[in-house]
């Protein structure tokens, strides 16, 4: 792991500390959007927090998505409730730090190609409205006014004004800075190997940088590696990576002010077919380039982009916005979503291992759900009742036999 040159005193400041402390009350594993959100929230309550990161902040899933925070793609129920709570918390963060984290309330548009799809998204919209979301139904001239460059073949759409976007790496950096300023420590280059078997009464973690004592809890915020971490800590958690591609274009003049995606996106999140699925997601960024998604597949950790998927994403984007035909693709990147068998996050104490608290499994919704997850973790640690029920996210649901068999992919 890289160490700063000893002569550069500017790097001796605590914010880049490489020193592993002897112990901490709460140890958080993973400095992504969730881990840093938890750290920032806990230090504000005066907790003694140490954040362990084996690589660099936001090096995993948090830097490989699009920074979306959506109500639109959440099924009514615990997921939608958590998303709406989390968005309300993001609005608070956004009002303090909008420029720094590029927080935008851009709105999301879900487009349908035919009558059947249109009926489906409207029905979903009805259910989401019943849970408190604001949904507009658009077609014809209204739709053209909201989204002028949309393909004329689109039959109709639903629009969610509460969908937001943020620059996720800046958001992680902002949360990390708040955590460090509040007295939290971050140790880079520390990978957790397991529990320390020193034989003393104290509970300690063994890491690649040494061991540290743990007071109250270890928070598993390791994203797609959360399953591996759980194994090392003597538990089992069916969180596996679900790969996605994002295409990045050259900077262009405005094509869309919103996040626009196809109706079958939600199905692509929840279905279990083998192979890969692509469902178009199109949006612009503050700096000019457009981000085009999306794909889902279980291919382990393969880091070679799939040419067929790149082709499909490009084709679907042009279908939604014909004006994109001559826009140039600049690069593609891959991300690995932390995914559970039922596509719901895992937030709660481990069923078997004392002191282990999971905050992971957010699939493609981690940026959005990070705030409410951090709030939930605080409540769990303080033994107070969280605003959103965590029952559906309980890790114990995977401890029952046979519950994780129907989705594993080789």
């Amino acid at each position: 792991m890289r160490r700063p040159s000893p002569g550069l005193t500017v790097l001796a400041s605590p914010r880049c500390s490489d020193e592993l402390p002897a112990g901490a009350d709460v140890v958080i594993v993973g400095a992504g959007i969730v881990g840093t959100a938890v750290a920032a929230r806990l230090v504000a309550t005066g907790a003694d927090v140490c954040l362990l990161e084996r690589s660099a902040p936001a090096a995993g899933c948090s830097s490989s998505g699009e920074g979306n925070m959506l109500v639109s793609d959440k099924l009514p129920g615990p997921e939608l409730d958590l998303a709406m709570r989390s968005l309300a918390l993001w609005e608070e963060v956004g009002s303090e730090a909008a420029d720094r984290i590029e927080f935008q309330r851009k709105g999301g548009l879900v487009v349908a190609w035919d009558a059947a799809q249109l009926a489906a998204i409207r029905a979903l919209g009805d259910e989401q409205e019943a849970a408190g979301a604001t949904v507009r139904r658009l077609e014809g001239a209204d739709l053209a006014e909201v989204e002028p460059q949309l393909s004329p073949l689109v039959a109709g759409a639903t629009f969610y004004e509460a969908d937001c976007q943020v620059q996720p790496m800046h958001a992680v950096a902002y949360q990390l800075e708040r955590a460090v300023r509040g007295g939290g420590r971050i140790v880079r280059g520390a990978q957790v190997r397991g529990w320390s078997s020193s034989g003393s009464d104290a509970v300690a973690l063994e890491t690649t940088r040494g061991s540290l004592r743990v007071g109250t809890a270890v928070v598993n915020a390791a994203g797609p590696w959360a399953g591996e971490l759980a194994e090392r800590l003597g538990s089992h958690l069916p969180v596996v990576p679900r790969r996605g591609h994002v295409l990045v274009t050259e900077p262009v003049s405005l094509v869309t002010a919103h996040k626009v995606y196809e109706a079958d996106y939600i199905a692509s999140v929840h279905e279990e077919a083998g192979g890969w699925r692509c469902s178009s997601v199109v949006e612009g960024t503050a700096s000019g380039p457009m981000l085009l998604g999306s794909s889902r597949e279980f291919v382990g950790w393969s880091v070679v982009p799939d040419p067929d998927i790149v082709e499909a994403i490009a084709a679907r984007a042009i279908a939604v916005f014909p004006g994109l035909a001559n826009v140039r693709l600049m690069r593609t990147y891959l991300g690995f979503r932390p995914t559970t068998p039922d596509r719901l996050p895992v937030i709660g104490w481990d069923a078997e291992v004392p002191g282990l608290l999971h905050a992971t499994g957010h699939e493609g919704g981690g940026i959005c759900l990070s705030q409410a997850t951090a709030e939930a973790v605080q409540c769990l640690l303080e033994r107070t009742t969280p605003p959103v029920s965590l029952e559906a996210f309980d890790p114990a649901r995977f401890s029952t036999a046979g519950s994780c068999s129907n989705w594993a992919r080789t």
């Binding site: 035909a325 001559n326 140039r328 693709l329």
Partner: protein, 585 residues
């Protein structure tokens, strides 16, 4: 018969250009140095690398926005306009679709990527072994940089293989089974046990059994305050302008930087009529003196070197060693007007009795180069193993004696395997081409029969000699970028206008790799995707974190090797116009 003068307009002004001009050479010939405003700072930009790698020279031509002026041929009637550094899209009129269709597949036994000395030799050798070849180069004509050809022959011929190269490589000109694709680049490449597939910018695909990667190198242009003024270009850009278009990048030119390449460029400029005010070499005279022994052992190289030095001396060009350009200042029109040259404090031997004065030169162009860096975009897509060759600083593709890489069926030759010059490149190309042919024919590449056994011994001797000289050259000219000259206000990432201060702040707040620098500052996220700034950021990172000093630059991961229109990417997709989402397995 020579085609007539080209008539075109720039921002509405009617202008003329010589036949064969690129948009860039036409604009420069008409006294224009900038034709673009950057997106972030609105800074004026024009030519930089001259060979299509840096994306600094973006210009709008007709319905095409933000195309590289240096590689875009100028056509009669073209409406050229200042670019706002944005692509077409949205409500812009859509340019015509790329020419190729999904059905256009170029097939052959061996794909040769790059038509420079290494690629030409590889293609020639493969054809000589009796296999079919697909030869691709993104420039309009074959030749690469070292063998850069005029953009059109004296007869007006613009075909890929110039008359001069056809004489040199008659097999490529006349043998059947040679498919040449120029003016289009490969944006995606895959190879493995099952063969090679390449995707071209124009929408066509390539399918072969084996390949030779000869993608060459890019120039290392080091920043200094004012390096982003229009008129400051790479040494290679000056050379390319002369060879391809017979044009000068300026009339009063300073040639500065480090490396043997400064001399041929200065000589070309002087012979073509420019006033070369000085050649400024960053390394000390003592370092260069170590070359004397090497030159004595390689008479042909000594003769070549003497010719450059003679030309420089004959034209009265002063040569200054141990000096660097501290800054450039704008002239009245905002393009480069002055260059300030100072002793190089970071050079060994810069002390003592050295003349410590600053020299100020009036110039209208500065040509700068600090050496070369292998172009590894496609190598990284293929997952080829890399190494840092002894005496070199940057990573290159690792090969064995048959030029085989770590991936079966993929061979590599030339500067992409290490900076060793044109002679080594051509020799490696011959070996690689023969080895790729042998692979296709199911023979062992080490079997001398495949490559023409009788020639092997003499070629091996020449290879040893050439490599030996290259090693001496690399030892005498280590990469010598004076990082201390880069002020906090100096732009490092030209595409996104990211200044050195922002990069240093990123280091101070925890960034410890080029990737983290990119995520924190957007450095490397622009059109060139880190091709220009990547080596610089690597050097800055290594200076701040010496223990990590790995210059296998992670800013150069490149799933997309060059920008490519989405409709060319989507070409062949079953789902165009289809209302269902894409699926596959």
């Amino acid at each position: 018969m020579t085609p007539p003068t080209i008539r075109f307009s720039f921002d509405g002004r009617p202008l003329q250009a010589s036949p064969g001009a690129s948009v860039a050479s036409a604009l420069v010939a008409n006294g224009l140095r900038s034709w673009r405003r950057t997106r972030t700072l609105g800074a004026a930009r024009g030519l930089l690398c001259g060979i299509g790698t840096c994306f600094d020279c973006l210009v709008d031509v007709g319905t095409q926005r933000a195309v590289r002026a240096c590689v875009t041929a100028l056509r009669d009637g073209d409406s050229v306009r200042t670019s706002a550094s944005r692509g077409s899209g949205g409500t812009d009129p859509c340019p015509p679709a790329p020419a190729g269709t999904a059905a256009d597949v170029l097939r052959g036994a061996v794909l040769v990527v790059g038509g420079g000395p290494a690629g030409l030799a590889a293609a020639d050798a493969a054809v000589g072994c009796g296999v079919s070849v697909v030869l691709v180069d993104s420039a309009a004509r074959l030749g690469g940089q070292l063998l850069r050809q005029p953009s059109l022959d004296a007869t007006g011929d613009v075909r890929p293989l110039s008359r001069g190269l056809a004489v040199r490589y008659p097999r490529l000109a006349h043998a059947p089974g040679v498919t040449v694709a120029t003016g289009t680049g490969i944006w995606q490449l895959r190879a493995g046990g099952g063969g090679v597939v390449g995707w071209l910018e124009d929408g066509r695909r390539i399918e072969t059994t084996a390949m030779v990667l000869a993608s060459g190198a890019t120039e290392l242009v080091a920043p200094f305050p004012g390096w982003d003024l229009p008129g400051v270009v790479s040494a290679g850009a000056a050379q390319t302008f002369i060879k391809a278009h017979g044009e000068l990048v300026g009339r009063r030119v300073l040639v500065a930087g480090s490396g043997p390449f400064l001399f041929p460029v200065a000589a070309s400029l002087a012979r073509t009529g420019a006033k070369v005010v000085s050649v400024v070499e960053a390394l000390s005279a003592r370092r260069l003196a170590s070359l004397a022994g090497a030159l004595a052992r390689h008479p042909a190289k000594a003769t070549e070197a003497a010719a450059y030095v003679t030309a420089v001396v004959r034209h009265g060009v002063p040569v200054r060693t141990g000096r660097v350009v501290a800054r450039c200042e704008p002239g009245r029109d905002g393009t480069v007007g002055k260059a300030v040259v100072v002793p190089n404090r970071e050079a060994d031997g810069a002390g003592g009795r050295q003349d410590r004065r600053a020299h100020v030169y009036d110039v209208d162009a500065v040509c700068t180069s600090f050496g070369f860096v292998p172009r590894l975009e496609l190598a990284r897509q293929l997952g080829l193993a890399e190494e840092v060759r002894p005496g070199q600083l940057f990573s290159a593709v690792a090969c064995d004696v048959t030029q085989a890489t770590s991936v079966a069926g993929v061979f590599a030759a030339g500067e992409v395997t290490g900076i060793e010059g044109g002679e080594v490149a051509a020799l490696e190309g011959t070996v690689a081409g023969a080895a790729a042919a042998a692979y296709c024919l199911g023979r062992d590449p080490r079997d001398g029969e495949s490559g023409g056994g009788r020639l092997d011994a003499s070629r091996d001797r020449r290879m040893v000699m050439a490599r030996n000289f290259a090693a001496c050259l690399n030892r005498a000219y280590p990469i010598a970028v004076p990082l201390g000259l880069i002020g906090d206000e100096t732009v490092v990432c030209r595409c996104e206008d990211v200044r050195a201060g922002a990069i240093r702040s990123a280091f101070a707040t925890g960034a410890a790799s080029a990737r983290e620098v990119r995520n924190a500052t957007r450095c490397g996220m622009g059109y060139c995707q880190g091709r220009t700034c990547g080596p610089l950021v690597q050097l800055m990172t290594a200076a701040s974190f010496p223990a990590s000093a790995s210059l296998v630059g992670d800013l150069q991961q490149r799933p997309v090797a060059i920008p490519v229109a989405l409709q060319a990417v989507a070409r062949g997709s079953r789902t165009i116009g289809d209302r269902s989402g894409g699926t596959g397995s």
